[in-house]
């Protein structure tokens, strides 16, 4: 009985550590649960075993608009989700701040851009954003099939709002996903995130 109690204590202590810990490169991605557009809870660890993309989003940010209006991100979403990647777009804007929308408006924007994310998750308290250290929109985090965080940074290396720059930019997210999907190591682990600040509460 005593042994069982110890085991339970150890289990809960490590579980809460995992839930409360800060994300770090090359370490297990901290778990979270967030509601999607339908109010359904999405648990990150349910998708461990697959490659997961976490994309911080704010549809009113000109840097996000650059990648959505150009179809750059929607095309990446379509291409990689078809190959089994789970794409979670997370909005950490607090109510009343830029990028926080009612679900109807979010659906409208998703349709307008023909976005193909697996989930659009609402993090209005900002707890998941802070756990992962999301600073800008967009800001990308990629988790490998072992549940390990292997990339944190920008979508590409051209920190601008100019759609023309996409053509000549080095797309880090594509490089990392292509490497992971072909069983190779990620060619880049961190890069300079750029964009609007996350509008935390």
């Amino acid at each position: 009985m005593k042994k069982l109690c110890y085991l339970l204590i150890i289990f809960f202590a490590s579980a809460s550590f995992l839930v409360g810990q800060e994300a770090k490169i090359d370490e297990t991605a901290p778990d979270f649960t967030l509601p999607d557009l339908n109010g359904m809870d999405v648990v990150l660890s349910d998708y461990f075993g697959k490659i997961i993309v976490l994309e911080w989003i704010n549809f009113d940010c000109p840097y996000v608009q650059k990648h959505y209006e150009s179809k750059n991100i929607p095309q990446m979403q379509e291409k990689y989700t078809k190959q089994g990647v789970v794409w979670m777009s997370i909005c950490s804007s607090a109510p009343g701040k830029q990028g926080y929308f009612a679900t109807g408006e979010i659906r409208k924007r998703i349709q307008q851009y023909n976005a193909k994310m697996t989930f659009y998750l609402i993090d209005s308290e900002g707890t998941v954003g802070k756990k992962y250290g999301a600073k800008t929109t967009p800001h990308f985090f990629i988790i490998d099939k072992n549940g390990k965080l292997i990339y944190a940074g920008a979508v590409d290396d051209k920190a601008s709002t100019d759609i023309e720059d996409i053509k000549t930019a080095r797309n880090y997210v594509v490089e990392v996903l292509d490497a992971l999907l072909s069983g190779k190591n990620s060619p880049v682990k961190v890069s300079k995130p750029y964009g609007c600040s996350v509008k935390y509460k």
Partner: protein
């Protein structure tokens, strides 16, 4: 028939006049202004002097609540880029001096900003044998201006100053010089897992109350907390936390050191790390 063709001729001439006028205005734009920001070049002296340093500044005025960013914007935003060229012979691009920015912590996101009116000073020496009537100073400026939303902007403004005439002067920016570091010091740095120790060997006249390091090198230091420091004789050791996702160049550390002394006086130093 004759009358109407005459009228068409007059209209055509008027249109041509308007076209030329507007294009001349665009070509010779001395000031950029929108509802968020204005950008222009101002001169400290009412008259140019040959063979001497002539002081100027890029003056940026931001509307209430709006801000732009320092060379290192911090966790978000984009650097303000200011590049000056002139019609002087063999003149390379001039980068004006950037005053110390404001430190802002918005829910854990640190940004280094400018608000209200800010001057970026620079000087130009006109050679004694300069053979043109007018000094032409051209500014290429690029910025990201933010309030609730962020809007990127850029402009080219040109100030043409006749060498022999008097011009309107603005000496306001001379008051800002204390926020522009003049002294430079060398430092050593040692990196650990989550922090770095910056060591400076220098005697300071007063007792230091607070230390802050504005890194010009982006993507290395976490600016959320004030760094701890110890002062042992002439050895100042500053304990700088590192970013969780460090992406900057650790081999090329530069920045500005802000020292607050016990009498609340502040002093700024350019810091360059040497091996």
């Amino acid at each position: 028939m004759n009358q109407s063709s005459e009228k068409i001729k007059v209209i055509k001439l008027l249109l041509l006049g308007v076209f030329l006028l507007t294009n001349t205005v665009i070509y010779s734009k001395e000031k950029y202004r929108d509802k968020r920001i204005s950008v222009e070049i101002v001169s400290a002296a009412p008259k140019l002097e040959l063979g001497k340093d002539n002081l100027f500044a890029v003056k940026i005025v931001l509307s209430k609540g709006w801000h732009i960013y320092w060379k290192n914007p911090g966790d978000a935003g984009e650097p303000t880029i200011l590049e000056i060229t002139t019609n002087l012979p063999n003149q390379s691009i001039i980068e004006p001096e950037y005053p110390i920015p404001l430190y802002k912590n918005t829910s854990g996101i640190i940004t280094l900003e400018y608000r209200n009116t800010v001057y970026f000073p620079f000087s130009i020496t006109i050679p004694e044998n300069f053979n043109k009537d007018t000094l032409e100073i051209k500014l290429n400026a690029k910025w990201l201006v933010c309030r609730q939303v962020c809007i990127p902007g850029k402009t080219v403004v040109t100030k043409r100053i006749p060498l022999k005439s008097r011009i309107s002067s603005n000496t306001d920016f001379l008051k800002m010089t204390p926020t522009i570091p003049r002294d430079s010091i060398l430092a050593a740095i040692k990196f650990f897992d989550s922090y770095a120790d910056l060591t400076i060997n220098k005697e300071f006249e007063s007792q230091i109350q607070k230390v802050f390091f504005f890194p010009l090198t982006e993507g290395v230091f976490d600016l959320e907390t004030n760094p701890d420091f110890t002062l042992n004789g002439s050895k100042l050791l500053i304990h700088l936390p590192l970013l969780r996702y460090l992406w900057g160049d650790k081999s090329n550390i530069e920045g500005i050191l802000e020292l607050t002394f016990l009498n609340n006086e502040k002093k700024y130093y350019n810091v360059k790390v040497v091996e």
